[in-house]
């Protein structure tokens, strides 16, 4: 490995740890949000499903960077509260990826045959139980590859957090570059690291899908 990378490795790895930490939190929060929104749309809950539609369409038509700016600059100004770049990033990314995950999970729910729900209801499960024990588990197992695509996307997106000053991988690497000025070497190292982690993530997705797949 080039000397410039070795010398600054701990600092950059610290950034990478932050990136991974943000990704993990957002993946968890986003999936939960997506699941809730998807179930609202799937069950056609009166007012809430309209709100969910508007939320999804709004986020899907907006760049991540602008969502991030709104969470970091806009909302705190509007509601008069303090936030940190880190917190704003997590909030913005959860809101952002949640909309995409909601659409994916909803389309997964739609693939579960209505007869299965009817059978579940006939055996005495309530609507909620039928969703929780029959429809959702089946749907989620079917869309594992799509979910992991979103997680990969999300991990790549964490690089954008550096723009508002979060000390994650890209941000730290660019700081190192500002001191060392060896952009090609440093960017190549950063790109390669992202590449390897993304490939590992999609690999995990494929492995899980193969293990849990239902026909």
């Amino acid at each position: 490995m080039p000397e410039v990378i070795l010398k600054n490795l701990p600092f950059m790895l610290q950034g990478l740890a932050t990136s991974l930490q943000i990704s993990a939190m957002v993946a968890l929060g986003g999936t939960l949000l997506g699941l809730i929104v998807a179930v609202i749309l799937y069950s056609r809950v009166p007012v809430l499903s309209v709100v969910s539609r508007v939320y999804i369409e709004f986020i899907r038509g907006t760049p991540l960077l602008v969502v991030l700016f709104i969470a970091f600059f806009g909302l705190p100004a509007l509601f008069g509260y303090q936030t940190t770049a880190y917190k704003a990033t997590v909030v913005a990314f959860i809101l952002f990826i949640g909309a995409y995950l909601a659409e994916d999970i909803r389309s997964g729910l739609m693939t579960v045959k209505p007869t299965l729900t009817q059978a579940a209801l006939a055996t005495g499960l309530t609507q909620g139980q039928a969703l929780r024990f029959v429809v959702v588990p089946l749907a989620v197992r079917r869309i594992i590859p799509t979910l992991f695509n979103q997680y990969v996307r999300l991990f790549k997106f964490t690089s954008v957090a550096s723009v508002i000053g979060v000390a994650e991988f890209t941000g730290n690497a660019m700081l190192v570059n500002a001191r060392e000025f060896q952009p090609v070497t440093i960017l190549a190292f950063v790109a390669l690291t992202y590449l390897v982690i993304c490939l590992i993530l999609s690999g995990i997705g494929r492995w899980l899908y193969a293990r849990l797949a239902v026909s």
């Binding site: 760049p63 969502v67 100004a77 690089s159 954008v160 960017l187 590449l195």
Partner: protein, 224 residues
């Protein structure tokens, strides 16, 4: 919540916003054209007979789309700064190489959706390889992939906002500038949000309608 919304300062800066909006459109359009060229070449290579071409194609797609777009932009802007490429074109190159990988995947699956017999029949009727692709396979593939292309295109438009980080004066960049002057933080970003939303909706709806009429046209021809 003692913050009163004031859109007056935003309206006063409409010239800047419009300027940024035009830059965003130009940036996206240039990157789009380049991404389609790259995507068509790489996507076609993925369906080639030669193994080396297929491997190259997969390597391109996997490496380009698994590297964050921001890194692509930094690469052209900071990494190759000695080439002195203008920021705008750094943005175009970064966007096009990144989105080209997504387009390639779609083109590959589009070509795969055209029955093999179509190409064989075209070759048998005396067309050259290139002619068979151009006149028989691509037109049919195009119809199948328009919905996926629409979603990649709208993704590209939204992704173009990252060019603001390398100082391309697009709409996001202008928003930051206006925010710095007026402190109407929420208003400016919401305005920009709605403009992106409008642009993305127009582009994806146009493509959807286009594919609808084409499909309808094809069906009418088939029925006749």
């Amino acid at each position: 919540m003692n913050y009163t919304l004031q859109f007056g300062p935003i309206w006063d800066n409409r010239a800047l916003i419009l300027d940024g909006f035009v830059t965003t459109i130009l940036l996206s359009a240039a990157a789009l054209v380049l991404a389609i060229v790259i995507g068509t070449l790489v996507g076609t290579a993925a369906t080639a007979q030669a193994r080396s071409l297929r491997v190259l194609s997969i390597a391109y797609v996997e490496s380009m789309r698994n590297i964050p777009l921001l890194i692509h932009m930094y690469f052209w802007y900071n990494g190759l700064s000695f080439l002195k490429i203008p920021a705008f074109w750094c943005g175009v190159l970064g966007l096009a190489l990144y989105s080209g990988a997504y387009v390639a995947e779609i083109v590959r699956s589009g070509i795969g959706s055209v029955p093999r017999g179509q190409r064989q029949a075209a070759l048998a009727s005396g067309l050259t390889n290139a002619q068979a692709m151009l006149f028989v396979v691509y037109p049919q593939a195009l119809r199948a992939i328009i919905p996926s292309l629409a979603s990649v295109f709208s993704q590209l438009i939204k992704d173009s906002s990252l060019a603001s980080v390398i100082a391309v004066a697009d709409i996001t960049y202008q928003a930051s500038a206006i925010e710095g002057q007026t402190f109407r933080t929420f208003e400016i970003y919401i305005t920009v949000c709605l403009l992106y939303l409008a642009l993305v909706t127009v582009v994806s709806q146009t493509l959807t309608i286009l594919s609808g009429t084409r499909d309808g046209l094809a069906r009418r021809v088939a029925d006749a």
